[in-house]
Amino acid sequence: MEWSWQRIPSEFLVTDVKLCRQGKLGKRKGFLHIRKGRIEGLGVGAPTAEGIPALDGDGLVCAPGLVDLHVHFREPGHEEKETVATGSRAAAAGGYTSVVTMPNTDPAIDNTGMIRYLIDRGKEAGRCRIHPTGAISPGREGQGMTEFGDMVSAGAVGFTDDGSPVASGGLMSNALKYADVLGVPIITHAEDRSIVGKGCMHAGYWSARLGMAGMARAGEDTAVFRDVELARAAGAHLHVAHVSTKGVVEIIRRAKNEGLRITAEATPHHFSLDHSRCRGYSPLFKMNPPLREPDDVNAVAEGLADGTLDCIATDHAPHTVTEKEHQFDQAPFGVTGLETALGVGITYLVNTGVMDLGRLVQCMSETPARIFNLPGGRLEEGAEADFVLFDPTRKWKVVADGFQSRSDNSAYLGETLIGRVAATFRGGRLTWRAES
């Protein structure tokens, strides 16, 4: 896609694009009309308005700006891994216009001042909307509750001790009840550490063969089960982070059939990679929850396809090269994801026939925005002009120096992915444009 504008005007058209909205990819090409940061109009065919500057979309797909409910931007405390500025840049390069940040920074995001700080840093960076979550417990230490009400009024969109589970069922129960009145979800990092122990990869054939301590599925399954039952008792909204087991998919399916207010996300790595990747001891395949067995990978993909799992969230977890040069069992958990998520989704879900592109885009934009009540994520008249233009057939190779993130600990290094972002707009402003 070529254009010669020095600046994007406040009113413009994007023409010759396939609109992807409400779970469907338009067959005919159409247009988007942007005015003062909002979507003024959209439709198929050529626009009727005259005299408005137009970008030729060149047949690209035009989708709502992607929304990620789970990122780690490491600020404050670990700016050597990522900052709000570098993370926002990575987000924009991946097609994202809104992200929900996790509170496990150093110190943790557990008060109103920290929430405001992150939102301000996001505005300074300007590339995507930053929606912070707050910690459930002060310092994420699992003792007592933070000031949910005050943080919500400052812009917190949910609460979680992500990175660590809430070991106390009593605290979790109270947090669910309390957050519900404020209209925000509790996000559970579901893990029973007394079951998982010192595990550093999935407990199964490969951990046994490689001689590494395993993390049993039951550690995740039983923790989700507890939290679902607590949410049932509280009548509250529970959001299950990074689902990785077939057992959890089944627990959530049953809970949804019973009408509980449970939502859930899955990461690109959990629907695309299995535990055999750990065989070379590369810490690029070390994450929590870990890569599991092929039937878990399939269950997660199927769960996304049939709506049991609502959305795709990256769990973007940058770490420095040095940290990832430690031995597998010593290296930190986590991989980056923002810049590869769309490509991984197209390569592993759409091109394999698990779901169509419309559903994938919905899982990455409209649905996550809706379940967390966030602006953006919709292509419709009057909505924020957050959108992404991408080529769903473009092949590209993932290389370490191709990232905007400060870190390059991607599980897909060296892989060829299909589907690449051409440009990202947030509120009608260009936030990313790929070199052609």
Partner: protein, 313 residues
């Protein structure tokens, strides 16, 4: 060339031919032990670094002895004196070693995969002296050598490995090597210590000790690593000894030719009773002597030693 790769990282990577080739050379070195002068000047002027990032007495001494008998120059590095406590990465360590131009690295490390990582980034040969709970190939080779001294061909022989399989690199190296030589391996221990995932490697898993040893030719008894187990996975020494300890009663029911092995150091009267440890079935000191011979053979072969030059055994 008996060994195809520059490193010996595990028995997973060695073929049956390589294993038998190494053992053949080891048996020739073993013969040297009975001579008045036990060293051979084959490694003169070559430097071997023993890098032990985890406590070890037996394996380290065995390697040192092997190196000395080959007349190599030896440098010992152990965790207390290396920079690891300062948080140096394995990569930095590797680069330092590479800059020092050593000829061979013997590495013992608490992390599975550490030897593989160093082998990838270093030009010199690397011998894995134990990586976490993954592999301990020289122990596997010396165990197999000891079994072959008794039984010759191991095809169809039944080897039962008893104990804490989940934390045992000895068990994994035994499984790979014995499978390749056609032996039938059974794992036995409390369910909290035997990872079910290993069944896919082609071994039997049997939690009942009596059944597990009924037609065994070899009992390989592992050290119970009390320090690695929280009390929750293991009721205690007394219970272990009663259920899985190799006692006179157990040994009495074995086939007459069956042998009892232990990689040491033993917890007497926990996994093995003193009577058995000192009794006629055990071949523990043969294992120790074979360990030196196996290590000599590997060091010799990896340094480009000519198998023909050693003469008959």
């Amino acid at each position: 060339m008996i060994l195809k790769n520059k490193d010996v990282l595990g028995l997973e990577e060695l073929s049956a031919e390589e294993i038998l080739g190494v053992l053949e050379i080891a048996s020739r070195f073993r013969a040297v032990f009975d001579r008045p002068v036990r060293s051979v000047p084959i490694m003169r002027g070559r430097t071997v670094v023993n890098f032990f990032h985890e406590p070890s007495t037996r394996t380290r001494i065995s390697f040192e002895l092997a190196e000395k008998r080959l007349s190599a120059d030896i440098v010992n590095f152990s965790s207390a004196t290396s920079s690891f406590s300062k948080g140096e990465t394995l990569r930095d360590t590797a680069e330092n070693l590479a800059a020092m131009k050593i000829d061979m690295l013997i590495i013992r490390h608490g992390s599975a995969g550490a030897a593989h990582y160093l082998a990838k980034v270093l030009e010199c040969s690397v011998i894995n002296a134990g990586d976490g709970a993954h592999e301990h190939p020289t122990q596997g080779l010396l165990d197999i050598m000891t079994m072959r001294q008794r039984f010759g061909d191991l095809r169809g022989k039944k080897v039962t490995i008893i104990g804490d399989i989940s934390h045992s690199r000895v068990a994994r190296s035994n499984i790979w090597g014995l499978n390749k030589l056609g032996a039938e391996v059974t794992l036995c221990g409390p369910p909290t210590m035997v990872p079910g995932g290993l069944a896919r490697l082609g071994v039997n898993i049997e939690y009942d000790l009596k059944k597990a040893v009924a037609d065994a030719d070899v009992l390989n008894v592992l050290r119970i690593q009390l320090e690695r187990h929280s009390s929750k996975s293991f009721p205690g020494n007394r219970e272990y000894h009663r259920m899985y300890g190799i006692t006179e009663d157990v040994v009495r029911a074995l086939k007459p030719e069956a042998i009892v092995m232990h990689p040491g150091p033993m917890n007497r009267d926990v996994e093995i009773s003193s009577e058995v440890a000192d009794g006629p079935r055990q071949v523990i000191l043969d294992q120790v002597a074979n360990g030196v011979a196996v290590r000599m053979a590997l060091i010799y072969l990896l340094s480009g030693g000519d198998p023909g030059a050693l003469g008959g055994g």
